[in-house]
Point group: C3
């Protein structure tokens, strides 16, 4: 594995899950691999779980993490080509990326969708420039269209809790006051396509995700129907993908909030969410604090997910 | 020691001081204890000494420190229960805390009094939620009502410089342009109650501290009287505790500034302050730069204080 | 070497270059030197290269780096003497510096020219207070008048690429929308004075640098004349030194931008710049992306430069 930007790059999922289980049981076993290796964590956007879990994963592997918040203490970066840089941006990303690459052994990048241009977002303009110019392995800490370290942690968590070979997993849209990227749901769909779970997507009309991600997955606009018999409910908000309303909040339907009443439709499903979560918008207090909520072990598995991926990147150096 | 939120949790003070002296003389002796242990330092407020000294203490112990500034690069946290989170706060502290806990071995928290509600401050709403939900040992890096790592450093410093068994120690209020929390003075009183020093508190009327902290300590509203014969002068501003003026600046009396003239009333006293200090408000240039000022060795002892506490927390893991 | 604030403190340049070459070839050879040593990196200003390269250099040497951004999460610092601190600055640099010094083994400081007073800038008011009060070795990570770690990296890069004993090196001013400090050009002149290169400075009238730095260096106001036959072109903007226009943008002449046409005047010169660089102001896309651009290897040598200096400071502890 040279770079890690999509869950599909894990290859055989069973093997990856076995590796993750090993890493979880033996967190400090591979420190020889990471000795004198530095991982640079570049944040264009806020982060809590990714910030902490990737540092912890690196430290477990004996690596040196260096955190760089681009908007705090570095220079504002120009990303366009051919620009006369007479404004507030002091540095071009075409210099910044290879410089960063020259000072570390691998680079993690967080760069959210900006919702200025769907094409720019879906072409992963920032992430791909890192891959092209860093000269070092690049891994996504959530890019415009995918969040594979999250998806891997999600699947690890489902595997740890499933009680049947082929659980029903429902990813349901839920309301949120601001427009959120599609990286998490896109990536979760990719992950689900690597399993044989019974997977269903539920979202309001207008909120269908990009066809290139949805593929053959089942989609319904009826949340209750989707939830019936679910073993896992994966809640998430996302803004519309449809060109004319891309990145806009057009639906704020509190009828989609995941409440105890909604969960009663399921097969006593576990509740999953990538966090951060808006309580009483996405999910009620009762559900997220309830005994079937897995949000904390799911977040804790972010360390396992990151460590498994960093270990592979180290092995491929 | 499971958590560390009050100086009283040190138990026997003589024993703790002996441990501190050992740590100071042998800063790198206990690195086996800290190996592969990660301490997360969570700052809701600014910090210089605490930020540096706690990192240094952790490194001395062979630990990995991870710093998290909540207001820089993480998500704004909701702290209220039952809130519909449709505003600017993306994450609830009830998720954030256990997530943080799942990614480290212990957590330091800095969370100042907010002066919005005396009850909230004195109930230590933030710190206690960390203790309740982190699932890991929690230590205070200054909370709403106490700053025990500071107090321990203060006492270490007094012990290093006292020339009599029972020195007279005066904690005096001094003027400041903004309302400051009562954590440092409250905590200092707690610390003094563990010694047999001759301890006196001097503050203007209206500035009496919380009775639950003051206890049986001597309090006077006459600074000059208090300073007479003092061996140590501990200067500090705090905002009023009294309900009707809680957290407000009602007195700006420059007659309380600790000047050379004031120090002349003492028994050639040493000058102490926790820093940061407003020069020529709290204390004159002359006094803080003078030969009896201990503010720098006092700050340097913050490493010793933190390292002694972290060592105990490691031993109890 | 006790402190490092000027390239001249390297002493014999050939020896320093040999050490740098050794460090570059054996980055992890000296970790015994740095064991249990902490370097504090204090930033009053933004940084990308210096932030990353100094951390990497310290890690390569087995040291613990601690980064402190003064304007993010610490206290605003008062720098004037005798001030009644009743404004927005909570701490005086006279306390902050020795406190920082007490918590580390050496201190790097970035403190740019402020352009408020030429005398204050050229007296290095901030840096010199660190040297006076920190009680620990201090090194410049770019101060008001010099950037010696940059200059050392520049010379290492020239040495690696020169194809004749005495290359012609031209430092040329180029336009920029904001007023920039003179630290890089001043320091580069100092560095050039330690070599026997054929060195020429080209800048518009009104932009002559401080005589104390220029010394006997050749200066021309005709860029084309300077570029003729150049082997290395070092582009840089700086604001005027002249008292009446100190720190102001008085010339925005795009005729000084380093373009392919300009480079055609040279002896197929290599292009150097310290970065960050404003594209199509300082230099055209074509030149900076061209095969003779050395800006990335030059930046990468910042690790080598910093590591060589930190190693010397460690050896002198």
């Amino acid at each position: 594995m040279k770079h890690f930007t999509s869950i599909k790059q894990l290859g055989d999922l069973k093997e990856a899950l076995a590796e993750a289980a090993y890493v979880k049981a033996n967190p400090f076993a591979d420190q020889a691999l990471g000795r004198n290796k530095t991982v640079l964590l570049v944040f264009f956007n806020n982060s809590l779980r990714t910030r902490l879990s990737t540092q912890k994963a690196a430290l477990n592997l004996g690596m040196n993490p260096i955190v760089l918040d681009i908007n705090q203490g570095a220079w504002k970066l120009e990303t366009g080509r051919g620009v006369v840089m007479d404004g507030d941006k002091s540095e071009h990303i075409l210099e910044a990326i290879p410089v960063m690459g020259s000072m570390c052994d691998m680079i993690g990048v967080r760069s959210f969708a900006r919702f200025e241009s769907r094409d720019d977002d879906y072409n992963e303009v920032i992430l791909n420039q890192f891959i092209q110019y860093a000269g070092k392995p690049v891994f996504s800490m959530e890019a415009a269209t995918r969040h594979p370290l999250q998806t891997f942690a999600d699947i690890i968590t489902i595997e740890e809790h499933k009680t049947k070979a082929r659980p029903k997993v429902v990813m349901t849209w839920a309301p949120h006051p601001k427009a959120l990227p599609q990286a998490v749901p896109n990536s979760f769909i990719e992950g689900m396509s690597m399993t044989d779970y019974d997977f269903v997507i539920a979202n309001p009309e207008g909120y269908d995700l990009a066809p290139e991600f949805v593929g053959n997955a089942k989609v319904t606009h009826n949340q209750d129907e989707a939830l019936a018999g679910a073993d896992f409910v994966y809640a998430k908000n996302w803004a519309p993908y449809r060109e004319d309303i891309y990145g806009k909040v057009v639906n704020y339907d509190m009828g989609w909030t995941v409440t105890a009443q909604k969960m009663a439709l399921t097969n006593d499903a576990f509740f999953l969410h990538c966090l951060p979560v808006r309580r009483n918008m996405i999910v009620s207090d009762e559900v997220i604090e309830g005994p079937r909520s897995l949000v904390i072990p799911e977040a804790a598995n972010r360390v396992v997910s990151a460590q498994t991926v960093l270990k592979r990147l180290l092995q491929a150096l």
